[in-house]
């Protein structure tokens, strides 16, 4: 017995367990000297706990002071409630899973060609998609032509989400309000990371052009090969983010400012909106749209799909980059 106990101190299981519990960090060998020294980490944790405890006591004290016993009961109630939470969560999880599993057992088998989902709708997309939309990639043809209204709604979702993030995180750089100035100073977290890191810069030097070209390729070939505006835009956005982390805001601001962002998004979304409105309008009123579809397989083909992909790509790339800068320092 005692031997086993001795071993347990150094066993892999304990290490694994402490790692899972978040008490130690397996990567603690000096990647980030300020962050992961276990001592400081533990201190931080203890302080956090102490703060929380103090807060709890404070809460009870205030409660006792103001309202007497009922508030203490309430605080105690919250604690009971949290225990109740754990039990509830397991029950709820199992309940949902069981009900849905029961449902799944009554659903048609995956991969069967005779399933109700594989009906005339999919058949028409496959059989006539190439002639009707001009896109070799049937999925792209479907989302940008047959079901374009959904996709337009989707880019609006992205647009409005970026507006909401702007509301929350944007800090006005030329504001005269002192508190906002302080917030700007606080939110600049660049001094937590190495400046002008030579390894990062050299890597970025090689990688950024490749990433950008890959992104542009995905966007432009959206109708010919897997991909399209959204995935390509995300790749482009991550290229921009890499450039920014390597070279800093000053270099980036030569290329990309808030004005550029606003104008790009506005132009792309406006074009998207107008183009799709035109095609909806002509479609519903049974008019000829007069947009040539070109030879399938060529890069300049499939009517509006290519310009729309470019628009979506631009919007997505800008939005992703803007998310990053807003999260980092609340502005561009």
């Amino acid at each position: 017995m005692s031997r086993r106990k001795d071993n347990y101190e150094t066993s892999r299981w304990l290490k694994f367990k402490t790692w899972v519990d978040g008490e130690t960090d397996p990567l603690s060998s000096g990647m980030d000297p300020t962050e992961v020294i276990p001592e400081s980490r533990m201190r931080e944790r203890r302080k956090d706990l102490a703060r929380r405890k103090a807060y709890d006591e404070e809460l009870t004290r205030i409660a006792a002071h103001h309202e007497g016993k009922t508030e203490i009961m309430k605080a105690r109630g919250i604690r009971y409630f949290q225990k109740f939470y754990k039990v509830m969560s397991v029950i709820l999880c199992l309940g949902i899973i069981l009900v849905l599993l029961w449902t799944v057992s009554a659903l048609p088998v995956t991969g069967n060609a005779g399933n109700p989902a594989n009906n005339e709708v999919a058949a028409r997309y496959i059989e006539k998609g190439l002639q009707e939309t001009g896109a070799v990639n049937i999925v792209t043809g479907m989302i940008l032509d047959y079901r374009a209204f959904d996709t337009f709604g989707e880019s609006c979702v992205l647009f409005i989400a970026s507006c909401c993030v702007l509301v929350l995180l944007r800090l006005d750089a030329d504001s005269k309000n002192e508190s906002i100035k302080k917030m700007i100073a606080e939110s600049d977290d660049r001094h937590f990371e190495p400046k002008d890191d030579i390894i990062l810069q050299k890597c970025a030097c090689v990688l950024v052009p490749v990433i950008m070209i890959f992104g542009i390729y995905i966007v432009l070939n959206g109708h010919l090969s897997p991909g399209g505006g959204f995935s390509g835009g995300a790749v482009l956005g991550s290229g921009l983010i890499l450039y920014l982390t390597a070279y800093g805001y000053r270099k980036m601001s030569r290329l990309f400012t808030e004005k550029v962002y606003r104008r790009t998004t506005l132009c792309a979304l406006t074009f998207y909106c107008l183009a799709k409105s035109y095609s909806f309008f002509t479609g519903a009123n049974h008019l000829e749209s007069g947009i040539p579809l070109g030879t399938p397989g060529a890069i300049l083909s499939s009517g509006l799909i290519l310009p729309l992909n470019i628009c979506v790509g631009l919007v997505v790339a800008c939005t992703m980059y803007v998310f990053y800068t807003l999260f980092r320092k609340g502005g561009m």
Partner: protein, 499 residues
């Protein structure tokens, strides 16, 4: 195809487009654009309504070059037209009524973002009303949710931000359930458009196959949208959300957003799953029970509240309970009553939130009963507005609430099993409503006592916007109360077109 038939499509696109353009405008221009846009879309919806009333039937509109099972579609009929006009009017008045407060609560440079959210909110509401495609509905539900979250947290106060994240969490739970219901539905029917999906559902029901999945679909979609609209056991986010947002946002959220989801739910029940299947599978009874519990519990919570805005929010929970009770009655009369109550509630609740603003202004921005004592004398018009709203909620004759209660009662008589509980609960709930609303109204018109804390002297704002909005809201309430016959007729016709 006549040109008028394009109007629903135009109204959605115009709303979206003005949202997109607003991103480069400054606050004032964005505001004006938004107001113009709401007026134009309301006019377009009115045109659609007139057209549908003229021809007496509904029509579908292809979004693109491909017909029904392949491309997207929207659909317009009498009920859609009425709802769209109504939503437009309420939105316009809510924006007008809260103009000053919006300008105060929102940072100046972010004002245009607020109006972007209003624009996109309206476009998504219109799309939810007109849509004939389930996946389009999902996408626009998401736009609606995100815009709603934006409207709540634009005030940037701690309480409103914690309310926003709570709202977001609950809404995401709802969307997740809705989407998985949609996936199962797609799996068993193979269609996403409502009309072909309904055909397949009918076929499946006739064959008796996939009975369990259909039941789960109903449950999951129903629960998902019920969470989003705040039915009783899922109502925890409502008081914070409505209580701490800026007035326009409170009015829009309580009056329109939750109603948009309920409208979508009714549409899905009628146009996809089949209302008679809902009734035969007992799901209607479940909704009925939840509705009844919500009616009583919401009112009880409201009586406990001392903060009047939270009280109004809790009364929303009770009113949502009314609507679900109407859906759960299982008769077409019950459904007419539920749809009419949607209109009643959104007009009345928006009136209450907007006129309450006028009362808080003259009470030093305090929201408890003591501070509001005598506020009805200090700001007479807001006092009258609030009184009218309260009386309407209680069910005073001539006002809209009376008509909807009457409709609920008469429709309860049609269904023998549910007659007694419905009538009892209606009576109990009306009494409870009267307790808390009339208490507040009496407080508003009682003399201040000498021991009350003095009110900080505030210069009463000469805002004609607020007055105009309150007057118009009172007008809408009276119209709903006095000229209810054509509206009820239109709802009945519209529901018949759904089938």
């Amino acid at each position: 195809m006549s040109f008028v038939q394009n109007f629903p499509f135009f109204s959605i696109i115009i709303a979206m487009f003005s949202g997109i353009v607003s991103s480069v405008l400054d606050g004032k221009k964005a505001r004006n654009l938004s107001l113009v846009m709401i007026a134009v879309t309301t006019a377009l919806s009115a045109g659609t309504l007139a057209f549908c009333l003229g021809t007496g039937e509904s029509y579908t509109f292809m979004m693109g070059h491909f017909p029904a099972p392949w491309g997207n579609e929207i659909r317009a009929g009498v009920l859609e037209g009425v709802t769209a006009v109504f939503f437009g009017v309420i939105m316009f008045l809510a924006v007008i009524g809260g103009l000053e407060h919006t300008a105060e609560d929102v940072e100046e440079k972010k004002l245009n973002l607020f109006y972007i959210m209003i624009d996109l909110m309206l476009s998504s509401l219109l799309a939810l009303v007109y849509t004939n495609d389930l996946f389009t509905a999902y996408v626009f539900v998401e736009i609606n949710t995100i815009a709603g979250c934006g409207l709540i947290m634009i005030r940037q106060k701690g309480r409103s931000m914690s309310a926003a994240i709570r709202y977001m969490i609950m809404s995401q739970l709802g969307s997740g359930l809705f989407l998985i219901g949609l996936s199962i539905l797609y799996d068993v029917t193979g269609h996403l458009l409502m009309s072909p999906a309904k055909e397949s559902v009918e076929m499946l029901v006739a064959e008796g196959s996939y009975r369990l999945p259909l039941l789960v679909i109903m449950a999951v979609i129903g629960v998902g949208l019920a969470i989003k609209s705040g039915l009783y056991p899922f109502h925890y986010w409502i008081p914070d959300t409505y209580g701490y947002a800026t007035p326009t946002a409170s009015a829009v959220l309580s009056g329109l957003v939750s109603k948009g989801y309920i409208f979508l739910l009714i549409k899905i029940f009628y146009r996809v799953l089949g209302y008679e299947n809902l009734v035969s599978s007992q799901m209607a009874n479940v909704l009925y029970v939840f509705g009844i519990v919500g009616m009583v519990m919401g009112s009880l919570h409201a009586i406990h509240e001392t903060d009047t805005r939270r009280m109004t929010a809790y009364s929303s929970v009770a009113q949502i309970g009314y609507i679900y009770m109407g859906i759960g009655l299982g008769t077409s009369y019950g459904m007419v009553a539920a749809v009419f109550h949607i209109f009643t509630h959104s007009a009345t609740k928006a009136l209450l939130f907007i006129s309450a603003v006028g009362l808080y202004e003259v009470s030093g921005d305090k929201k408890d009963y003591v501070s509001l004592r005598g506020a009805g004398y200090r700001n007479p018009l807001a006092g009258i507005g609030f009184t009218v709203g309260s009386l309407s909620m209680v069910g005073f004759p001539m006002l809209s609430g009376f008509i909807s209660k009457l409709l609920f009662a008469t429709s309860a008589l049609e269904s023998p099993h549910k007659m007694l509980p419905t009538l009892i609960v209606l009576a109990v709930s009306t009494t409870l409503n009267a307790v808390y609303f009339l208490r507040l109204v009496i407080t508003l018109y009682s003399r201040r006592r000498p021991e009350d804390a003095p009110i900080p002297e505030t210069v009463p704002r000469k805002s004609w916007h607020l007055r105009l909005a309150i007057l118009c809201f009172i007008g809408v309430n009276l119209v709903l109360g006095l000229a209810s016959q054509p509206i009820v007729q239109a709802i009945t016709d519209g529901l018949a077109m759904f089938g």
